[in-house]
Symmetry: C2
């Protein structure tokens, strides 16, 4: 059994490689829900949908989110009504959020919704939201705190980051199965996702970090930082905003209390390897840029063999 | 000032003629909401949307409902999730219902939602839901009572009708402005809509029938029954199921306690005119089949001149 901690696009791409090597039935993916938001009265779970659509083979590969070939007629009509026009959601994508909102209203948990959607899209692995409770990641900018999606999408991640908070995280419990998956797995893989607002959010949940320290599983991360910059997204702004070095070393340090090993990109090997190993974390260097399926599979292979 | 009592497609087509002759600002349209239903957790108001889209010039003319050129990607995805697959709702149409549901959740009335949608679609007339409370029209068939839309769409109006009930009508109040519009208008027009499940629902609301009897307005109906059959829809099944004669006379009799005049089709003139006049209702015969804009305008003109 393998447990994977995942954010959005980076994690989803990594997972497409991993499922080539590991039976879906042996995989539990714990997905960040700190980006979840309520728009148009609908519960939207960006990272869960990205992971689900990507593994189901229906994601819009170019964008990394949404469904390939989807139309945007519902959203355009909502714009005509003056509704939030900064968040993109295709017509098929709306269906997922409508289903989710309605199931939640009728008493289902987010875990149950997530299981139904992934099952109906033909997946056999277990996708778990990190929590069934509401946790929201807020980013502090000069104007105050804004929801992560607002920071990321509406404001195009342009503001310098002054801080991050995970709203309601103290009240939230990990979803049923999360702690047990970590404790009973042979291997826990931390995806090349944002260490602050994806993985960091999962780690901030009560009991998760403790479980990672306690489990006998090998804990292996993939650095999302290559040559001092994130492969995708605003991880650099978030890391430096929180005083964390924007490097594979900086990432390894965030996970050092539980991490056994980390895959870093070959371009960082000379500078980073010895620094990270000084943290007590094994290092394997290789190609971490997931350009095609072959490189994704090769990267997944490294995480399984380290 | 003119007040119009309206159902769905027949009313909407009639109104496209009327707005050629009357300033929108002088029109109040009171629309049946007994067909409203909750599907996918969304509040759907079929008749309000049909009237609004038609007057806004964006309706799918062929079907009579929905938006011209709309796609059905959201609905198809919901079908994949095993959700109700008998009700058709296009992607843009979903936007209206999402907006409505969200506004209602945030405390707006259906009247406020309806006003916003019609305003945003460029209309200047006042469209009022018959009530801001929940009223649901149920049709009794051999298996029991089913929601009107289920009878009409899911079961294709095939079942013999044993009865009709307007659920919650005793608790519902006419929306703000409905009674006053009837009392203060010069003319009240009853559209060629289903006399049982469109107009009948409006008339069943506390105070509406009394206001129609009391008002000094001229009250003029257009018969939706031509040559013993409805122009569109299942009015014949509903009328005969309730023991009402399926004829212009049958319709006039339902409204006779308040009606001043009725427009019937020329084909019915010989048989129906004297029978209806015996009820104390004036009769004008003409072409009531609204094939094109010219016949719609001519029909509207008759209702204004009677």
């Amino acid at each position: 059994m393998i447990t994977v901690l995942a954010g959005g696009v980076g994690a989803a791409r990594f997972l497409t490689g991993l499922v080539q090597l590991v039976k879906q039935e042996d995989l539990t993916v714990v997905v960040n829900t700190g980006d979840d938001l309520d728009l148009f009265g609908l519960h939207i779970s960006p990272d869960i949908d990205i992971v689900t659509y990507t593994l189901a083979g229906i994601v819009n590969d170019e964008k990394g989110w949404g469904i390939r070939g989807d139309t945007f007629n519902c959203l355009n009509m909502l714009k005509l009504f003056g509704e939030a026009d900064w968040f993109n959601l295709g017509d098929q994508d709306f269906a997922t959020s409508i289903l989710r909102t309605n199931m939640l209203k009728n008493g289902a948990t987010l875990s149950q919704v997530t299981a139904k959607v992934s099952h109906d899209l033909g997946l056999r692995l277990k996708i778990l939201p990190m929590t069934d409770d509401k946790v929201a990641t807020y980013v502090q900018i000069s104007e105050g705190f804004v929801h992560f999606e607002e920071y990321m999408v509406k404001r195009a991640a342009k503001d310098p980051v002054l801080g991050v908070k995970y709203v309601n995280v103290d009240m939230a419990r990990p979803a049923k199965g999360v702690i047990n998956a970590i404790l009973s797995s042979e291997r826990v893989i931390i995806c090349p996702s944002n260490p602050i607002v994806s993985i960091g959010t999962i780690l901030s949940l009560k009991g998760v970090r403790e479980a990672l320290r306690k489990t006998c599983a090998k804990k292996v991360a993939v650095s999302p930082i290559v040559a001092g910059a994130p492969v995708k997204g605003p991880a650099d702004k978030l890391l430096s905003g929180l005083g964390v070095e924007v490097s594979a070393f900086g990432v390894a340090k965030l996970y050092a209390d539980f991490l056994d090993g980390i895959i870093i990109d070959s371009v960082d090997a000379v500078v980073e390897k010895s620094r990270i190993e000084a943290l007590g974390v094994k290092v394997v260097a290789g190609n971490t840029l997931m350009k095609d399926l072959a490189t994704k599979v090769a990267l997944a292979k490294m995480t399984l063999e380290l």
